[in-house]
Symmetry: C2
Subunit: 111 residues, 2 copies
């Protein structure tokens, strides 16, 4: 069921989480093979925490879980794109809906 | 202009590339500080190739360049989200518009 994927030296693969309701990119976190299996089996996103060195389910404390609707992988087989239904107020522990709430100011030479 | 970002052990930071016209996630690649500076300065996405160990501009051979419209960074300051205008046929070297053109079949327990 799970295709051959290329995990990094730490046996991790980045997973982009996208809100299926409006296509907003919510967050990026890391899975290993087991976290991906847990995600598929439960239908809720599970990750490997690099800092805490343990598995975590998104929303396990906040209740803001993510219901998996689609899992895609890229041409190089080294990145996942998980489309989810985001439950609750959002994906970010700061209270924002998305973790990408800050912009780098650029001069935008193309404008 | 560039905020404090957390680069990994190889001094890289993942950059999610999203099509600003339809919010499709096109690809993920890696930048270092210099690639990010090149991206900001030129308004075209530049990355560090981990396999070829050199800088590359997206579309430098295909012509399918990406014009930068917005650069965001996440709450942990360890991931970038770059919204682009994709020029040409698409982002993927396979000819697909997005690199995420394959799906992992799941039983979808939430459906």
């Amino acid at each position: 069921m799970i295709p051959e994927l290329k995990y990094d030296a730490k046996k991790l693969i980045p997973a982009i989480i996208q809100d299926i309701s409006n296509d907003e990119v919510l967050m990026l976190a890391y899975m290993n093979r087991t976290a991906l299996e847990k995600t598929i089996k439960t239908g809720k996103t599970h990750f490997w925490s690099r800092s805490r060195k343990k598995y975590w389910m998104k929303g396990e404390t906040s209740g803001n879980i993510q219901l998996v609707r689609e899992i895609l992988y890229d041409c190089d087989e080294d990145t996942l794109l998980v489309k989810v239904e985001q439950i609750g107020t959002g994906a970010c522990h700061t209270g924002n809906r998305t973790c990408f709430y800050r912009k780098i100011e650029t001069e935008q030479p193309n404008k």
